[in-house]
Structures are given as structure tokens and as C-alpha cells.
Symmetry: C3
Subunit: 470 residues, 3 copies
């Protein structure tokens, strides 16, 4: 028996009538605001070349590590999902892969992945039946056929999604040609880049030394000295700024920062370049480089983001055979108070500098991050991230952060995704959860309705644009 | 003024009428499913010999460390509760001990202990007045008289409780004679054992070396070499399997695992057997033995359970005078991502292997365990355990686990108890809390009612049987 | 548009009508109980000299680090708030500072600071308009004028606030002259001291060696030996007791305790006095001194409080220029199980001794502190503290503590504040949140209404007086 898709107008709002009615009113005030997406991982090539997406499986399943990980956790092999080198017996029939996904769609009950997908099915592809084993083939065909239509090309969807601006993420080794092409095309859509230098500031990154050589070539800067190396990064940042970047992003194992003397920095750099360094020295270098990036941010005005606390590629077998971003990144405990001390003491009191910190360790919300963000002028707190980009995760975030940091030391929502079609769905969940949280505060008289309305608008739009200098 | 016992039909359901009505409907679908109890500590002797339980105090108070700890925390001495060596002035009058308990029953307000006991009073002993100082004597007499009746014997209660299968826990040094006797008796009740080898794999366990000698004798295996030692454990596991065991259980201080080379393992074993080893070597041995147990599980199909993270016998005085399991075990912070890396990298991708992990550190739910269980095919997440086997503990578990691991990487409920009479009460709380959680998800349109119904049945019955190979 | 202040009679109660009505009833039973404030930081000079408070800014803004930190976090400089040495360009016009505060009052939406202030504006100063930029001047003038009236003097407010007893906090170096003056004055208000010896037991405290010299002089005791040093502390404690103290308070970096041998203690003391000690030795000394304080508590009956887990003065610049208590203290992760082991093993089983432990690390509630408090007779758990002294913080506290420790191993509310006027507001929030929590437990049938009523009274009044020997 096929059921209709469950996308109720009041979804995520409390069933308490008082709260629900307030949430509805708040949501109606903000639901039509344009999407501001200051941090994400969509591919600029899509918007530069504006070609049709291929099919339902290649667009919606294979690139989505949230989705792949859950199927894999229940014993579905990577090859059955179409991954693997050519010599293996991987599934090549995309429709069969879609059928496997549909057969197992029940696994996603209660997860945000299902919420986002149902939203896409209804609002992008106009489906009305809930996806299941029986209608999988029809689903695949319908979506794939849609994708061949002009109104489903990247730029058309961008406009339909009411995106005011979206940031992608590139490394200093990227030539930014797609961003240049977008600019040159005269298209009105605003797609900007963001500067993510992990591969040239983390000595333990794969191919680090080769990356530095490439950086030197690209920036036409001699990097034999630490000064030269810093200069090359400055040159690269300028190039990013010229293509719209307003922020940098740093995905380090920890939030550790250091503020070494010039002599120490120089010595450490030469040690790292000698390619004979300890794991501790690599960590020191990463820690020092966060502070260097902050120094540059004060100069060039790029907002700095730190995303720490993930054990990348925990599954050695999976990484060896199928590579990165297949769902085997696992959060670990994170410390912010001692780790950010060096950086915050150097620049935390300067309100021209702006640092946005994220966490996957929710224990740091009330204990460390809200107290830090509620004190340092330079520090703001990023939204609930990755595994916590979910209704319950967002609720816990507001519950644990607001009383100490208020609403105004936070920066609105990040979708942080490469799943382009899910972007409106993700922003919609965030808006609904903010309204649900505010509605509860109004319902027990911690806020008035007019205060909540103002805050809802600020969380959805004003704070994002301000925090990211957009 | 004596009040009636408060065992409302809607207990633990939200007072929100929409949620309450959904919860009621869900609960009515699952409340009569038989109890599947895959992990617990009841005494097989009860079911083998089927003798009457003695009296209210010896059955309900003294063996229950949840209960003893709370009374003790408020200054009631162990001797007043009937504990201690004979030379001491311990209370021998069970009725007086029951009176002390009744006088202090208010201490348990708001705790699951009181919920379970009230359920037992009503549903097993047909009491209707709330226990208090005034009716304590009558309570004691009524319960104790009941216990002399045939319908209150262990097997009769087992049947009345609608238990489909229950697992006890024994060590490799146990002769399993009671399990054998149950099988031989022809009784239809299914009581199986589970293999818990802590006393022969943890070098710091009391009497470890003697335990190994006994293991060697019992399994008729020479354990001078590491191979021989492993062989003896395999032999023992086979004996457990023959008496119905489908699982092993490992109560280690941490979840740390290692995967050493053969030479390292052999050397470490000899070091341990020399009885001159460091605390670090003992920890390495425990860590390696978890991996060895996983190897054996792949061969013999026993499901593996790890219960880490408890500081056992924190109170030296209490331990010295009154022994283990008196309420002085305290949870500590636990780490899973680095600790499980060796084991999961060896076997985590093999869906023939099944590892169920528990935690007392709730901070690991959303940060570590849900992400791990939502990725590795071999890993499932055990239910809210021990101190968290409670309404709020269960709610937090589902709220923090579901969005990343879904429902289908969890394994249903464990009562984990030696308090036999409380088993239906504990399963009832778990069923109610699952229904309350699902009802909230239906009420804010994250699930449909038919989805929630299916999940409720799976959490109560299907997933347990599947996870534990029952 | 100026709005009225939002101080609804049902604030903090659930909008669910069933819960709200129960909460109302419970609150009506307890709202008029006198305030018992066993732990705080008001200035005894106020009550001794009973002079008028100066003006709105000096009374309500500048001493309140909750308030200053939030303004500072949004880029408002310390000098604009009137802080700094005279040479700087600090704002001297208190009315202008009040205007800045009013302009930024929206920053406090959703925080307890705003709740407390609105309560003070309405209930102490009879304001009805919500503070905003437009009415800031009038607000300042009205409050400042009030403060010149006799009915706004400290003793009058004390009586109006219905305070039964309040404890301040002094160090052994304090001459307690204001406390003596209060006693001598014959005023009926009960203001007692509490013994906080951090500055003479922490070798890393600023001026530690000089502090010891002063302690020796004040107590007329030779402190060249460890015995002498302990004797001087005993003498000091007696002096505090004579002025009403019933408790000691210890603000250590961690909860670590040690129980060294006499030889070790003596050697450690001499090392510390030599002023050549390592950071580890300083930590050992602090840890040992907690145990020594416990020994003295057993003798003199003072209740012992430990407040660990804060990184003090995280912002070096702020500390150097503006000193302590300006909002730059940040909580850190805290461990209690291993750290309290030495102390609890020595005295934890002795119910004549009473230790109240606090935390800023909420992860320890369910994992460590509730299990410890639910076992050791000597241990009680302090209320949600500092950053967690907030509606959500209190809710999390009860949700995570109650099921394991019950209500009766907690000690009621502490306001812990130097903001005298906010004391009734803070107690009111605590009473409301306890009632809201209890109402939920009644609404889902975990408690009866009469049980909840009894507990509400105990949490508000009975348990506080008992725990603090008042």
C-alpha cells in the first residue's frame, strides 16, 4: 500500500496548539526570505557550465555521504551502490541502485536525510507518493526525465530556490576557473568562493610538500622562507577575494592555536619543509597557522571559520578502496578553552576581526563555546553542524547556547552541503526549528511575539549577512 | 493518610492530548508482545530448582543495588539493611528492614526504582495502597505470604510474565549445571546463558592466575601457550553455545581494542602469565582479547557485547566490608572512536560479525556512537543502560541517537537485571517511552502513524530477536 | 513603540494547560516562603552601614559580570562602560553608560540576565515600560531617585525581599568587621559569613606567601610547620563560626583530592613554603588541602562546598587592564570520580560530614555526580550553577540528576550573586522551574500532586536549611 508523502504544513512545530500557532505565525514571516548560503560545498562547475544533471542516482544518492553511510551500515556493499574501481563487480545500472535505495528507504525514518529527500521529491520533482519498493522504477524515471528539462538545469534551480548568494569552497591550489567563468558569463546568480587552505597548511595532508610547490608556482612566490610562504598565502587570498570570497575555512583535527615567536616560527617552518618532522611538530605548525590566518584576516577582512574535531577516514578499508567522504568520518571530543587561548588572546578583543567556530561535540556548547562567544568581541558561534544539522540537534543547540551567548553571538544557518537540491529543504528545517524554539519561548513568556518575530528575521537573514560580510 | 498507588494507564505519555492519544494507540499495539530479555543477571538456579522465594526483603531489597545505594546515601547503614559479616551487629529481622525501607520510600520519588517497585506491588502482588510507614508490616506479610504460593514460584512467574526467552550471564568457570538442569527438566521456559569471560581475560581480575588454572582444567586444554589459551576459550564458548548462548559480554574498564602481531601477542601473554606485568600491559592484554573474542565470534557466530566505562567499587570501605555490587560503581568518561578503531578496522566491515556497544557516558551518543553505528555494518548500539535505564535516560538516548543512526542500528531493550520481579516493569517503561518518543515524532509530522507503529513493533520485538540471533 | 514589561504570571510554566495548572498550584504553595540564601557574594558592608546605593549604573550594570560580558562581546568597550584606570578615556557619566546598556538591551533576549532585570524593574522600582533606547534616561533617573529613599536602603530591601538568612563569603584574611558590626547593631536581619580560604591554600594564588604571613599574624599562630599552618586555619574557622558561618567554600581549578601520609604532607608544605615548587606540587597541595579542610569540617561541623572547573581570567588583556570578574572566566571539562576518590574514601561514609559539590560541566550530572551523590552519605549535589543558573540549565539539571540521585541528595537553590537586587528574581526563577519540572512529572503520572507539593516545599526551604545547617 503506497502512502502519500508526509510533508505537513506544521512539521517540526509542537503539537501544543498555543506553541503551534505562534510557530506558524513566525514561520510565515520568514519562510519567503531568500536563501543566504555562506558555507557549502556545491560544485561551481554546475553554475559555470549549466549542463543538465545526469540521473536520480548520480545526483541524489552517490554524492550524499549521509545517505551512503546508512545503507552501508545495514550491510549493503559499496559495489552494490556503484562505487569501486572498474575491475570490481560494481553495479553500473543506476536504476538498480535506485531500487536498492528505495527498498531500504525505511532505514531513514526519523533522520533528517529522509526529511530533506521528501522535501526534494515534493517541491522539486512534484512527486506525491512516498518512495517505496513498488514505485522505485517510476520514481527514477520521472526524476531522471525531469533532469533533462531546462528548468532543472543548475542555474534554473538556483533561481527557483531563491538563492541570494551561495559560497563554495576551494583550496589555494584551485585555479578558480569556474568562478571566473560564472563572473564572465554575466549571469545574475551570485556564486562566490571561500578560501580553504588545509592542503597547504597541514603538514600531514596527503601530498603536502608537492602542494606547497604548486602553491609557489600558482602564486609566483618563492616559499623557501616562512615569510615567502606567508606571502604566497596572502597572494592566494587576494585572488579568492577578487572572486567574491568573504571567508576562509579551516578543517583541523583540533581547535588548537599557538602564538610562537618569529624565531620559533621560522625554525618550525624549516623543520616542516625538511619533511622530517614529528606528529607534534605537525600539530604545532597547524596551530601556529591558524594564528597566521587570523593575522591575515585582520588585514584583508576575510571572516575566519574553524571546523575542528573529526577523525577523518576512520575506516581504513573503505578509504583504501573508495576514498574520502564516504561516511566514515567520526566526531571526537573537542576542547576550545585552552586550544583557542593563543588566538583569542592575540586577536579576540579586536572587533574588526571575526572568527566563527563550529563543533561536533555538543558538550562544548554550554560549557565552553557559549561562554567564549558571550565574552570575546571577535568570536561568534557557528550553527549546529553536520550530524547535528537536524531538528533535535538544532533544538539542543539553541537550548544550550542561547542563555549564555544570546541570539546575537550566533550567525544563522549554514547548509554546508554538496547536495545542491537539498539546500532549500535544509534551510526550511532550520527556519522551522528556530520558529519552534522561539514559539516555546513565547509560549512560556520568556519572549514576546514581537521580540520573537524580530529574532526570527535576524536568525534567517540579517545575522548571516552581517557575520559573513555579505 | 494512605494514598492509592499511582500507576496511571497513561504514565510516561505526554499530557499533550494529541501526543497522548497517539502514544496510547502505539502502546496498545505492542504492550502484549512477549518479553525477550537477551541480556540480564537472573539466577538460573531459580528456574532450575523452582523453589519458593523467601521473603519480601530478601527478594526485593537486599539484592537490588539501585535500592540499597539510595538508602545508604541518606545515612542508613549497611548493617541496618542486613548486610555484614556475622560478628557485626547487623539487622537479622527482615520485617524491620522492610520497615526502614518503607519509612524512606519517599527518597525514591522521581526515580525508576520506585516506578518498577510500584508496578511489582500492583501487578505481581495485587497491592493497591501506596507503601508507607503505616502499612509496611502488612505489606511485608502479604508479599511474603504470596511468595509461599505455587503461583509465585520462579517458573510460574516466568510464564505469567510472558517471557519468551531470557538470557543469564555466566563466566567460563561456571559449570552451567543449572542451565543443564533446566534443559533436562523438559520445562518449556527458555532460559539461556551468555558467555562473560572477564575473570579469565582481565589480568587485573581478582584471582586471575587461579582462574586460568581452573579454566585449563575445566576445558581440558593446556594453556601454557597463547594458542592453547585461545583454544581453551573456544572450547568454553562451544559449551555455552550448546546451552543456548547466542552472545558474549565484556565488562571492561574502557572500550580499548588492539590488533597486535602474533609475536607481540605471544610475548604479551607470557608476560601476563609470569604475573609480573605493568598496569599498561594488563590494559593491552584486555584490549587485544576483545579483538580475539571478535575473531572467535566470526567463527562461532556469538554476538559480542561490550559494556565499558565503570569505575568499579569506588568506595574502598564498602567493598572491603560488604563486597561487590552494593551501589558504589560509578560511570566515567568513555571514548569509542580511537578505542574501537583496531577492532572495527579488522572486522567492522564484515556483516557476519555483530558487535553491540553500550555506554554510561551519554556524551558519546550523538558524538561517537551514533556516527559509528550509522556507518559500520558490524556495529549496533545497545539501549540506554543502567543509570540511564530510566524515562529521561531513554528519551535522551532516542533524541541523541536516532537522527544519525536511525532506529535500525539499535537493538531494542535490555533489562540487564538480577531483580527478576522487576523485569515486566522495566520492559513496560521501555515500551512506553519508545511510544512516547514516537508519538512526539508523529505529532510534529516527522513520522506517520503507520510508520511509528511498525517501528514500535520492531523496537519491542523484531530488532531484539534479530540482533541477538534469537 | 514602547512595550510593557513582559512579566507574565505563568512565566516559565509549560503552555500545556494541564501542566500549567499544576505548576501554578505548586508555585502558589511555595512562592511566599522566605528566601534562604546560603551561598552568595553580597557585600556585608551594605548591611553593616546601611547607606544608600548610589545610582542605577553603579548598582545594576558595573558590578554584574553577566551583563558586562555580553555588552563587551558585541564590541562595546570597557571604557565606554566606565571601566579602566583614571588615565584612560573612560566614560564617567553614569547616565550615558545606562543609555548604552538600554540601546543594547535586545542582546539579552532569551537570557536569564534580562529576566532578572525585568523582575527588578517591576518589583523593586515599579517600572511598567520595557527598557529601551527611548526611555533610558527616564529609567535611569527614576531608579537613581528611588535609591536615595530610605525604603531602598540595603536593610530595608533585605526585609522587603523576605530574606530569612543570607551568607556572604570572606577569606581568612578578612577582619569580618562588617559582620561584627551587623551583630553589634542589634538589627534583626541575619547576615552570616562563609569561610573561603583559596588565597591561603592555593600556592598559585597571587601573593600566597604574603597571605600566609598575614594569616599567621591575624590568627596569632606560628605557621613554620604544617601543624602550625593547619592550626592557624582552625583558629580562623572558629572566628568565622563565631560570626555565624555554617560553611566553607573552595574554588579550585579541579576537584582533585589527595590523602598523603604525614611525612609527605610535611615535606610538601616545606617545599611550598620554600617558594620553589612546581605546578604539579602546587596542585598536590591544593588537593591535599581539600582533604585537610574535610578533616576540620568533621571537627567543627562546617559544611564543605567545592566549586571547581573554571579557567579564570582567560582574557589576558582584559585581566591586565580591568582585573578579575569581568566576564572572562570560562568553564572547562571537569572530572569527579577519580578526583574525589581520596576525600570520599576518607570521609564519604561518615554522615556527620557534609560535602556539597558543584559543576559547570553538565556532562558530569548524569555520569558522575548523580551516581556519587546517590551513594555516598556525606555527598550532596549543589544546584545548577553560574552559567547554568538559568531556566534551561535548571531543567537539564533536574532531568539529568533526579532519576539517579533523587530529590533528597540535592540542596535547594543558591543564588551565588553579588547583585543584591536580583536575589528575589533568581529565587523566583528557581522556584518556578522546580514547579514546572514537578508539574511535568505529575502530568505524566510519575508523581502525584501531593508528592510534588511536598517536594516543592522541600526544594525551596527544608532541604536548604538542612543541608547548610541553618
Amino acid at each position: 500500500m503506497i502512502e502519500p508523502i508526509n510533508l505537513h504544513a506544521d512539521r517540526f512545530f509542537s503539537s501544543d496548539i498555543i506553541q503551534r500557532d505562534i510557530a506558524r505565525k513566525l514561520y510565515n514571516k520568514i519562510k519567503d526570505f531568500p536563501i543566504v548560503s555562506p558555507h557549502g560545498h556545491t560544485d561551481p562547475k554546475w553554475f559555470a557550465e549549466n549542463e543538465c544533471f545526469s540521473n536520480a542516482t548520480e545526483l541524489l544518492i552517490q554524492p550524499d555521504h549521509y545517505l551512503v553511510r546508512m545503507l552501508y551500515s545495514q550491510g549493503i556493499s559499496m559495489s552494490a551502490l556503484g562505487f569501486g574501481k572498474d575491475c570490481e563487480e560494481k553495479e553500473l545500472d543506476h536504476k538498480k541502485i535506485w531500487q536498492i535505495f528505495a527498498d531500504n528507504y525505511f532505514l531513514f525514518l526519523g533522520t533528517p536525510t529522509r526529511t530533506w529527500l521528501d522535501y526534494v521529491f515534493v517541491n522539486v520533482f512534484n512527486m506525491s507518493e512516498m518512495l517505496c519498493a513498488e514505485n522505485a522504477g517510476n520514481y527514477y524515471d520521472t526524476i531522471t526525465a525531469c533532469l533533462q528539462q531546462p528548468e532543472f538545469k543548475p542555474r534554473a534551480l538556483f533561481e527557483r530556490f531563491n538563492i541570494e548568494v551561495i559560497a563554495t569552497t576551494e583550496s589555494p591550489l584551485d585555479d578558480l576557473k569556474y568562478h571566473q567563468k560564472i563572473v564572465d558569463s554575466g549571469w545574475s546568480g551570485k556564486v562566490i568562493t571561500a578560501f580553504r587552505p588545509d592542503n597547504v597548511v597541514d603538514p600531514e595532508f596527503e601530498g603536502f610538500e608537492e602542494n606547497l610547490q604548486r602553491l609557489s608556482v600558482i602564486t609566483k612566490t618563492n616559499i623557501d622562507t616562512f615569510e615567502g610562504y606567508l606571502k604566497s598565502l596572502q597572494v592566494s587570498r587576494e585572488k579568492f577575494k577578487a572572486l567574491g570570497a568573504t571567508s576562509t575555512d579551516h578543517g583541523h583535527p583540533t581547535a588548537r592555536t599557538l602564538d610562537l615567536s618569529n624565531d620559533e616560527k621560522t625554525a618550525l617552518y624549516l623543520q616542516i619543509r625538511s619533511q622530517k618532522f614529528t606528529s607534534q611538530q605537525a600539530d604545532d605548525f597547524r596551530a601556529q597557522m591558524l594564528t597566521e590566518m587570523a593575522t591575515m584576516s585582520l588585514e584583508d577582512g576575510l571572516v575566519m571559520q574553524i571546523h575542528p574535531g573529526v577523525y577523518r577516514n576512520h575506516n581504513d578499508f573503505l578509504f583504501a578502496h573508495y576514498g574520502r567522504d564516504k561516511g566514515a568520518d567520526i566526531p571526537v571530543q573537542s576542547e576550545y578553552v585552552a586550544n583557542l587561548h593563543a588566538l583569542l588572546n592575540k586577536y579576540g578583543n579586536d572587533s574588526r576581526f571575526e572568527l566563527i567556530v563550529f563543533t561536533l561535540d555538543e558538550t562544548s556548547y554550554s560549557r565552553e563555546l557559549a561562554p567564549l562567544a558571550g565574552h570575546y568581541p571577535a568570536l561568534k558561534l557557528g550553527p549546529a553542524w553536520w550530524f547535528n544539522d537536524s531538528p533535535e540537534g538544532m533544538r539542543r543547540y539553541r537550548q544550550q547556547v542561547t542563555e549564555t551567548a544570546g541570539f546575537y553571538n550566533t550567525v544563522g544557518f549554514n547548509d554546508d552541503t554538496r547536495a545542491f537540491l537539498s539546500i532549500p529543504a535544509r534551510h526550511d528545517v532550520a527556519r522551522r526549528m528556530d520558529c519552534a524554539f522561539l514559539a516555546e519561548m513565547v509560549s512560556d513568556h520568556r519572549l514576546t511575539e514581537s521580540q520573537a518575530e524580530k529574532i526570527a528575521v535576524d536568525l534567517t537573514y540579517t545575522l548571516v549577512k552581517k557575520a559573513y560580510h555579505l
